[in-house]
Symmetry: C2
Subunit: 360 residues, 2 copies
């Protein structure tokens, strides 16, 4: 990162924004505007400036770096995968809010590998990201909390801020912001919706013990059963991860083992619901005529298959994460905590079996 | 970026990987492995190393940067939005291939704003990304080609490589790799599929003149009509962008203006198809009983709504882009060109009207 200009007899002196402006025949302010990317500019002007930047090799030197750092720091979000619409919509919220604040947004992906997560956090720190947002489902054990505390302190030391999104808090000693949404409340509400429609045998798809997101959804499911005085049958909770193919597999295996011993399915998310619906259909069972079904997340898939589900404010999670991180200004890293609400979206996937029993 | 260690009486000397190894009580190779993120490591070891890194503030200094640069450079992909499953699946392919090659993957989003695109390319260049992959639909005019040529040369000068994905070539003078897929061929095949089923009035959704992706799909649609000797009716081509809500809008407006004067819909992509299908359904028209429909892309939505569509090898596009970029090794930036094929996926959204006429 120590290349210097060799043009115009100024060997060994770092190229400055003034050199670029002089070379392009425009003002320093114009170069700054164009390089910061915060304002529109005429294509001809941009082209002249870019030509000067290229000819003087301005970008690669430390001044450009300083300029970028001072004018247009970036906001970073790290997700397992961008194919998951859940992550993609949170990332979209981050991008939208970052754009409103005049910041760039970069997304790192980890493929659920802690080593890649670590390397990505370091990359974002080196890049001087103003905040680093980590999203989603985790195993909330000591190793995880220690890793997050490491990140939080390393980022805080570099003037950045760790934000955890859809994850539990780390405690008051760790400089991390937390934006959650109400998984348990949403699962309770949608299970109650099925129970109120008379369903008693409700298959839960996507249990995965130790993982925060499925754990909190299972907790809401069980609490609703208890409040409706329906005995909890662990045989109705099916283990698996949250992909569409898993929903398909779970229902296939269940129906291969014997006839349906349930009247409703609570899929741990909408993708599972889409896969489960396909498996039911291949078995001659229609939703909602034969089997009722609900999901979780309210992703575009839910609208496509007319699924009653729980709306998660994905974009708002991302936007809130950015807002909280930038609001602290240039001060110390913060430790705030926000819990966003969830609500049921009723479509056409639940059939009423009989009047619900009175609730206490 | 010039902070130095102040611990252990070694003020003013940059912390090296040896200091971190000594502090953590592990080998230099272990520290290197853990920081590069290319190998698994025991949590206890990682924890010791991270503690040493934190206490010596190793990450923020130039050595760590050099190490990261030498050992684990990143692969960058820049997309309009990660919410679009089209972009997300290409990004997933990039991530998968990057992981196989032991590289990190970072994703930049631009929201279709050229200024943000420029700033993001610069950021990726500063980050010393090994390649920068730009994806998707563009207006292929002089300003665009000039901008891409600027990027290509600036990245090549920094030892990086521009890769255009799903975009036309820039010509032999520009150091950019190109990975395309066959839009026109796919559109020709799926239109022929409708024509062979007896459809003659086929509504095309999502024309957008000047944009490379819709233009090449419209071209395939028109060529198939011509080959089947069906007169081209421009009134059957509906303008709009590629979102779900647009498909809904287009069909709503069409049906509000008068009864359906078409027997089939060719939606420019699967999201348009999902929106169009909803609008048809609200109007009492079912797919395929009343109106046949096909899409393009073969995204998960297509499986959910049983849509016959054109399969685009999204992940393979991303993987090929990374493979091509890394294959050149540390040599000059390259100018290769690959065209991946597309094919029809038949589901249950097309009804046969009558035997097709003989084709010449």
């Amino acid at each position: 990162m120590s290349r210097r200009a060799t043009s115009e007899g100024e060997d060994r002196r770092a190229v400055t924004i003034r050199d670029v402006a002089a070379h392009a025949g425009v003002s320093v302010a114009t170069v700054s505007r164009i390089l910061s990317g915060s304002y529109p500019s005429a294509p001809a002007t941009r082209s002249k400036v870019m030509k000067a930047v290229r000819e003087l090799d301005y970008v690669a030197n430390a001044n450009a770096r300083g300029l970028a750092g001072a004018r247009s720091r970036s906001v970073a979000i790290i997700v397992t995968s961008v194919v998951s619409p859940h992550y993609a919509h949170v990332a979209q919220g981050v991008q939208t809010q970052a754009a409103l604040e005049g910041k760039l947004c970069i997304v790192g992906t980890t493929g659920d590998d802690p080593e890649r997560e670590l390397a990505t956090v370091q990359l974002m720190r080196q890049e001087q990201a103003e905040c680093v947002i980590l999203v989603g489902n985790v195993v909330n054990n000591d190793a995880y909390r220690e890793r997050m505390a490491d990140y939080a302190r390393a980022l805080a030391a570099a003037g950045s801020q760790l934000v955890l999104c859809g994850r539990p808090t780390l405690g008051p000693d760790v400089p991390a912001l937390v934006v959650e949404y109400d998984n348990t409340g949403g699962a309770y509400a949608i299970t109650s919706h099925l129970l109120s429609a008379g369903h008693r045998r409700i298959l839960f798809l996507g249990r995965r013990e130790g993982y925060t997101t499925p754990d909190s959804r299972v907790a809401g499911y069980r609490r609703a059963l208890a409040d409706f005085h329906v005995a909890h049958d662990p045989g109705l909770e099916i283990d698996g991860t949250m992909e569409r193919s898993e929903g398909y597999r779970m229902i296939r295996e269940r129906l291969a083992a014997g006839p349906a011993d349930f009247t409703a399915v609570f899929a741990g998310n909408d993708l599972l619901a889409a896969g489960a619906r396909q498996a039911l259909r291949e078995h001659g069972l229609r939703v909602p005529d034969d089997i009722s079904m609900v999901g979780f997340d309210d992703l575009p898939t839910a609208a496509d298959i007319d699924l009653t589900t729980v709306h998660v404010p994905h974009e708002e999670l991302g936007r809130t994460a950015v807002r909280m991180a930038l609001e602290r200004g240039s001060g110390e890293a913060g430790t705030g905590h926000v819990m966003l609400g969830t609500h049921i979206v009723v479509r056409d996937s639940v059939r009423t079996l009989k009047p619900a029993p009175p609730r206490e």
